[in-house]
Symmetry: C2
Subunit: 222 residues, 2 copies
C-alpha cells in the first residue's frame, strides 16, 4: 500500500508487450486445444486473459495468425529436442540400432518435455494432438515435424533390414496415433479404468509405450 519504491508496479513497454503476448498465446493455446480453431472466438481468448478483444487483433492481426503463432511458439523446441535425441541415439547405437531404442529416443524425449514443462506445455501437447487431425492443422504439423519423423523412420529401417517398408510406415502410423491420443488427455482411460489410470500420467505411458510398440514392430516380421 505504501509507495516507498516508485518503480514497484512499473513495467517497461517491452515487458508489457511481451507479457501480453505470452498471456494471449497461453489462453489461445488452452482454448484451441479444447475446442479447435472454429470453436474459439477472439472474445473467448481476450476474456480468459482479462483484456479487450481488440488487443488480440493489435498483437496478432487475425485469428488464423494467432493460431499459427500458438503452434510456432513451441514447435521448434520439441522438434529440435527429438531430432537431437535421435541423432544421439543413432551415434550411440553404432552399427546395431534397435527399434525400441529409437522409439525411446523419439517418444520419451517428447513425453518428458511436456510433463516436465508444466501446465502450458501440457496444453501445447493437447493443442498439437487436436490440431494434428484437422485440415487446418495437418499441413502445419507435417511441414514442421516431417524431418524428425523421417529421421525416426530412417533409424527404424536400419534396425529392421529386409523388413518391408510398408510395415515400417504402418507401424509408425500406430505409434503416432498412440502418442497423439496420449497428448490429448481426453480422460477416457480414467473413466474406463474406474480411476485406476490417469490421462495426464505421462510417466505411466513412458514406461510402457516404446516397449509395447517395439514388440508390435517385431511381430509384423513373421
Amino acid at each position: 500500500m505504501s509507495s516507498t519504491t516508485p518503480k514497484r508496479t512499473q513495467r517497461s513497454k517491452a515487458e508489457q508487450r511481451a507479457e501480453s503476448i505470452e498471456q494471449i498465446l497461453d489462453a489461445a493455446e488452452y482454448l484451441f486445444s479444447k475446442n479447435g480453431l472454429y470453436g474459439v472466438t477472439l472474445k473467448d481468448v481476450a476474456k480468459r486473459v482479462g483484456i479487450h478483444t481488440t488487443l488480440v487483433h493489435y498483437y496478432f492481426q487475425d485469428k488464423q495468425n494467432l493460431f499459427e503463432a500458438v503452434f510456432a511458439r513451441r514447435a521448434n523446441i520439441t522438434s529440435d529436442r527429438r531430432m537431437e535425441a535421435l541423432e544421439q541415439y543413432e551415434s550411440d547405437a553404432g552399427e546395431s540400432p534397435t527399434v525400441e531404442g529409437a522409439l525411446h529416443a523419439f517418444l520419451d524425449t517428447d513425453l518428458d518435455l511436456y510433463y516436465e514443462g508444466g501446465e502450458n506445455w501440457m496444453n501445447y501437447a493437447a493443442f498439437c494432438a487436436r490440431v494434428s487431425n484437422t485440415p487446418e492443422g495437418a499441413e502445419l504439423m507435417d511441414k514442421h515435424f516431417d524431418p524428425v519423423v523421417l529421421k525416426l523412420v530412417h533409424i527404424l529401417k536400419r534396425a529392421l533390414p529386409n523388413y518391408p517398408e510398408e510395415d515400417i510406415f504402418w507401424g509408425y502410423h500406430f505409434v503416432t496415433a498412440a502418442l497423439m491420443n496420449t497428448l490429448a488427455r481426453t480422460g477416457r482411460i480414467d473413466k474406463l479404468s474406474g480411476g485406476m489410470c490417469h490421462s495426464d500420467d505421462f510417466p505411466a505411458v513412458k514406461k510402457r509405450m516404446a516397449k509395447f510398440m517395439a514388440a508390435g514392430f517385431m511381430a509384423l516380421e513373421n
Copy 2:
C-alpha cells in the same frame, strides 16, 4: 423424356421426407468429419444437399440435434456388430481366449463394416474419429461404446490372468488410438511413405493391427 408412366417422378411424402433426412445426414456427416461441430454451418450443410437452410431446421430443429442425429444413425449398428463378434469369439475360444483373437474380433469387425459399407460409412468412421477427442463428442461416444469396450477388456483380462489391470487399460489406450487414427484417414501416411501406403486402405490395417497390438500386450508382461 416421354411420359408414358404417370408416376415416374412422384414420390410419396414419406419417401420425400426420408430422402431429405438421409441427404442432410450424409452431408452433415461428411462436413462434421472434416471440420467439426463449430467448423460447419447449417448453410454449408444445406448447400451441399442443394436445399434451403431452413429445411435443415425443419427436420432437425437445431445444430446440436443434427450433430447427435448424425452420430446416432449408425452408432448402434457398429456397436451391436462388435458386441456380437466379441461374444461369438468368447464362446468359440472357450477356456483359453487370446489377446490377438479378442482384438481381431473387436478391430476387424469394425474395419470391415466401414470398408465394405462404402463412402458414407467411411465418412461416419472419420466423423467418430474426429468427434472422439472433442469435449462435445467424447461423452456421446463413451455412453454408446462403453459396453463394447468393457466387453473387450473383460476378454483381455481372461486372456491375461495375473496381468496388472493398469497394463490392460494402457494397452487399450494404444489400441483405440490406432483405430481412431486409422478411421480419421488424414492422408499423413500417404505423404510420409511417398505414396506407398494409403490412408483409406483399411485391409492393409486389418492385416497388421491385431497382430501388432497383441504383441505389444505380451511385451508389457515382462
